[in-house]
């Protein structure tokens, strides 16, 4: 099968184009460096199937950041039959340098000038045909976001794919540092084919930024936006979650209970009280998760993340981090795993390691589910959103404390240089794709961890069969009793201890296993929790859940990205110790104050 590689600078819309061509769901966002993995898809081109690879964006084919090395090695080891070079038409003046570098590699190439819609709006005129002649390769203006120019581009790609690839130039390394040649070549092409207005500015972006990046108002606006976002998720999401939970409960009563009536007691127990209750309790959170990621998608796509990096860099520098680390912390609110991988754009290993040490403290969407459930069960409707917000503050605090404590060990002098893209707005199609992506991601996790987890919890709380389910005589009871000396000082009882042990695998299992342990789901489970726990215990439990290791996937990612077992062990032990210490301080202080 022929192989096509997508190449270009960061944030030029390669992934958007990839999604459009393959119908795939590569993560897109208005942030340079959002793609860190190689994604492949298959498309039908001129009657043949071809494989298309979405590569991370690179500024420079001779660059030294990890993603640039990934791309260089990829091209070296898998010479593609065709390279589609995607350039941002609005920045053609400087992006041409990468194109000319790539041209020297003697690859079979088609050039797509993306964001043609934006360039037109900015008053930039590009004569595609003339440029094509000057460079001696096919060039097409397109908009990957809206699909303009796509049919013509596809035609050109299919045609170019028929030619044999000239092969990789062996003298690749010696071509380094040919800036003089590149500049001459750029000037020749630009003066012939491109007209840029003398003074160019996106007035809409400039006006918005004069408020959003205001010296005094910028930070308060940032925190205001975050606060409203989380309030919104709770306000819209919590009733939605309750509704789905009721629906799933009703389904059990009217359909599943009668259907399983003929089965042996242990089997219907395992199926209904174990698997169904556990999975249904977790599944009820799917609407909240979709809602959350839609909000996140808007924040990412608008380009506000780079603004957040601008606003927070000075503070992050005091902790040995930079603005990009802060953006990764924000991305970690969705899921810690892609945030950890996003640190690949950093070149200093120390900065990367320190960022990776703090990212797991980001309150991810899986932990959000636990907190929404418990705050709704134990706090009044007015207090619950505030309690939730306080946990976000603790999440930041844990990251800050960790960075301050470890910044000496991971000292770095990495320069902070970042592109600031204009504000853009996601299309409905992009939002739908993102929502769908999160649903499938959830289902994958559900099938991998959650079912296995809740079955194990059910077995532990029901074996040996002579014991009363969930009593101290069961296996779970024994484990809980054995660990009691460790968890009693932080107010966590035997049953919650079991939930925490399984939460080590994935946080979604925490509420799933609570449903199994208490043998209830939905409102009944909330009621039971409200009777069993007081708010001090519940808050201590949430603090522990927030700070200790997020999940097995995060640990695996930490190991893969750092390639260092010692570092992975440090991240594990430190988060467990900090979790215990914070919960201990909170619980004992609250009790001492008479709560």
């Amino acid at each position: 099968m022929k192989r096509i590689a997508l190449l270009g600078m960061p944030n030029t819309g390669k992934s958007t184009l990839f999604n459009r061509l393959t119908g795939g769901a590569a993560r897109v966002g208005n942030w340079p460096g959002i793609t860190v993995e190689l994604l492949t898809g298959k498309i039908l081109l001129g009657g043949d199937m071809a494989e298309i690879i979405d590569l991370p964006g690179i500024y420079d084919i001779h660059g030294f950041s990890e993603d640039e090395q990934v791309v260089r090695h990829f091209l070296h080891d898998n010479v593609p039959d065709l390279a589609i070079v995607v350039l941002n038409a609005t920045q053609i003046e400087r992006q041409l340098s990468l194109l000319i570098q790539l041209k020297q590699l003697n690859l079979n190439m088609v050039v797509l000038l993306n964001m043609a819609d934006e360039a037109k709006k900015f008053g930039i005129t590009i004569d595609g045909e003339k440029m094509s002649k000057l460079l001696g390769m096919p060039i097409h203006l397109i908009s990957a976001k809206y699909g303009q120019g796509q049919p013509e581009a596809m035609h050109a790609i299919a045609k170019a794919l028929r030619y044999p690839t000239p092969g990789m130039a062996e003298a690749l390394r010696t071509q380094l540092e040919q800036d003089a040649h590149i500049e001459q070549e750029m000037a020749r092409v630009l003066s012939g084919a491109v007209q840029v207005p003398a003074r160019l500015s996106d007035t809409r972006t400039d006006k918005l930024d004069s408020v959003m990046l205001h010296p005094w108002l910028g930070l308060p606006i940032f925190f205001g936006i975050m606060y409203l976002l989380f309030q919104g998720i709770f306000f819209f999401g919590q009733p939605l979650q309750g509704g789905v939970a009721d629906l799933l409960g009703w389904l059990r009563e009217t359909v599943l209970d009668p259907a399983c009536a003929g089965l042996p007691t242990w089997m219907s127990g395992l199926l209904l009280d174990g698997i169904y209750n556990g999975v249904a309790t977790v599944a009820a959170f799917v609407p909240i998760i979709i809602l959350f990621f839609l909000f996140m998608a808007i924040v990412e796509d608008t380009g506000y993340l780079s603004r957040a990096a601008f606003l927070m860099d000075a503070l992050m520098a005091k902790m040995g981090l930079d603005g990009r680390s802060f953006v990764m912390l924000l991305m970690g609110f969705g899921c810690n795993v892609p945030a950890l991988m996003g640190t690949r754009v950093m070149r200093s290993r120390s900065l990367r390691m320190l960022s990776m040490l703090v990212i797991p403290f980001s309150l991810c969407s899986a932990r959000l589910q636990v907190f929404v459930f418990i705050t709704a069960a134990l706090f009044s409707p007015n207090a619950a959103p505030l309690v939730l917000f306080s946990l976000y503050l603790f999440s930041f605090a844990a990251a800050i404390i960790t960075a301050l404590l470890f910044k000496k060990q991971f000292a770095n002098t990495e320069p902070f240089v970042l592109e600031l893209p204009p504000y853009r707005f996601p299309t409905g199609r992009q939002m739908l794709l993102r929502g769908w992506h999160e649903v499938t991601h959830f289902l994958r996790r559900a099938s991998q961890f959650i079912i296995a987890g809740v079955v194990l919890v059910w077995l532990l709380t029901n074996l040996p069969s002579s014991a009363t389910p969930a009593s101290a005589d069961t296996l779970a009871g024994m484990i809980g009793t054995w660990l009691h000396p460790l968890f009693a000082p932080i107010g966590i009882d035997e049953q919650l201890t079991i939930a925490l042990i399984f939460g080590f695998v994935a946080k979604e299992i925490v509420i799933g296993s609570l449903a199994v342990i208490y043998g209830m789901s939905g409102d009944a489970l909330s009621g039971a929790l409200g009777q069993q726990l007081d708010w001090v215990q519940a808050y201590s439990f949430m603090l522990f859940t927030l700070i200790y290791t997020p999940c097995l996937s995060t640990i695996a990612t930490l190991r893969n990205e750092s390639k260092n077992n010692g570092f992975t062990a440090l991240a594990l032990v430190w988060s467990l110790s900090l979790a215990w210490l914070v919960s201990f301080l909170f619980y004992q202080a609250a009790r001492a104050l008479g709560y």
């Binding site: 600078m9 601008f310 000075a314 320069p415 970042l418 592109e419 600031l420």
Partner: protein, 65 residues
């Protein structure tokens, strides 16, 4: 504030990155704003806006217009 870049006094790795972002001798550059607490500056070269820390910005020699 506007001016023209006359020289870039950084190490090679950073120079390469800056060149890819459009920093070259002879290019016009404009300072758009500075973040509070001594944070980064936002500059504009051609059609690209770039954030960089003041320590890095200090390495770029500019002749005021």
């Amino acid at each position: 504030m506007r001016g023209t870049i006359t020289d870039i006094h950084t190490d090679d790795a950073l120079r390469q990155r800056l060149q890819a972002l459009g920093f070259r001798s002879g290019k016009d550059i404009e300072i758009i704003r500075k973040a509070s607490f001594g944070g980064p500056v936002q500059v504009r070269i051609g059609t690209t806006d770039i954030l960089l820390r003041q320590t890095e910005a200090a390495l770029i020699e500019v002749r005021a217009a």
